[in-house]
Symmetry: C2
Subunit: 215 residues, 2 copies
DNA sequence: AATTCTATCTATCGACCTATAGAATAAGTC
DNA sequence: GACTTATTCTATAGGTCGATAGATAGAATT
């Protein structure tokens, strides 16, 4: 016990950090919201998962809606930034679209519940945070749309396609994965590869359709 | 008066049919469920839309869950049958898949709310009816899957593709339309055409550089 | 040892929501 | 006009849920 100022380096915040269980609480919340939906889930359900009392949750969030906002934020965070970074790369539109699809799918692995809650329950956020989160969402749509348009302009993609509709198709396809990727036994890379192939090349076999005479 | 057994044929049910407003009530229910979700909606909300008292709704359905079941049923009905009929046609897999996509999208027009509720809220049905409705759902998936596999077998579609994943992709893409088709200003035929093109041919331009390279 | 901080608990309030019971009204029907 | 059936109403029981207040136990700090 001689005057040792050693442990005072980071103000000796050895274990005094408040709300150490916060990550665990938010994880359980995401799970319950993903399973039952925001209004279908009760704070009691969340408490049960954690083995604590319902009222104890309010040490970690101020309201059920605030908890939803926390979950939704972790469900979108990163999507926009990594999307923007990919779109800015000096590669072909094909390659960038494939990367966009892949990066859009990968969060299913480690934060599937968060993504699912964001996709299905964000409508129940209080108006203000819903708007804020909606902006990020629309931003991501624009990134996809723009890469597709660049692909058309570069002669990589079919002329005359509706970039908006294609964007909605691709995002719909990817987002749907949040509802089945746990039941189906497919790895994220396999899904990303199949989806990319589908979007870039389609199902039909390559040989040109020069002559309509099929068979 | 005189022994006239004439009017007794349909018991003269001129206007004595019970629950004449039932279609209107179920329509309002679908709308409210689509907007706020099953648990987020109250029976009061539905009554407000109709301009009647909350308790009056129970003349038309026996419980809120029963109302959800009615809505969900109208949201799936027809999908499976028309899908099966299309799959059985003697046309190319390409053509049949296009028709499947188109017929899967068209109910958005006249029963969008029902479809939306089925897609988003069926999880909240009581176990039994959820199972029953789930069977129809899986049946439809199998129809898509099979047409795709037939396309591969016939040499129309790429060999080696994962028919299950492609099915999930196509259905995800189509189902997502239920959440945006009201906001976007696109007609169902335009959506169906764009989606079909995307799925069959992909985005990439058909490379004419298909050099047969002898052999 | 005394004090402060962290995390959880007990207890409960008020609001809201589904569903029931039975009365009241409206619309034919005899 | 009396009767019957269809529809909506009033009133409320009964239950659940989110949220607050205050107590408590343990750990860390001084």
């Amino acid at each position: 016990m001689i005057g040792m100022t050693v442990a005072t380096l980071p103000t000796s915040r050895r274990s005094a950090s408040p709300r150490r269980r916060a990550p665990q609480i938010i994880e359980a919340t995401a799970m319950v919201f993903a399973e039952r939906g925001f209004h279908g889930a009760t704070t009691q359900d969340i408490a049960d998962v954690l083995g604590i009392r319902q009222a104890s949750l309010y040490y970690y969030f101020s309201s059920k809606e605030a908890a939803l906002e926390l979950v939704c934020l972790r469900g979108v965070e990163g999507f926009f930034e990594t999307g923007k970074a990919i779109a800015a790369r000096p590669e072909s539109a094909q390659k960038r679209l494939s990367l966009l699809i892949s990066s859009h799918l990968s969060p299913m692995l480690d934060r599937g519940n968060f993504v699912k809650v964001f996709l299905n329950e964000r409508q129940h956020l209080p108006t203000e945070s819903r708007r804020r989160i909606g902006r990020w969402s629309r931003g991501l749509e624009r990134i996809f749309e723009q890469v597709i348009e660049e692909g058309v302009a570069a002669g990589e993609f079919r002329a005359g396609l509706d970039a908006r509709l294609v964007t909605l198709a691709v995002l719909g396809m990817c987002n749907a994965a949040s509802s089945w990727y746990l039941k189906e036994n497919k790895g994220v890379p396999a899904i990303a590869a199949e989806f990319s192939n589908l979007v870039i090349d389609g199902l039909a076999i390559r040989p040109a359709k020069r002559r309509p005479s099929r068979r």
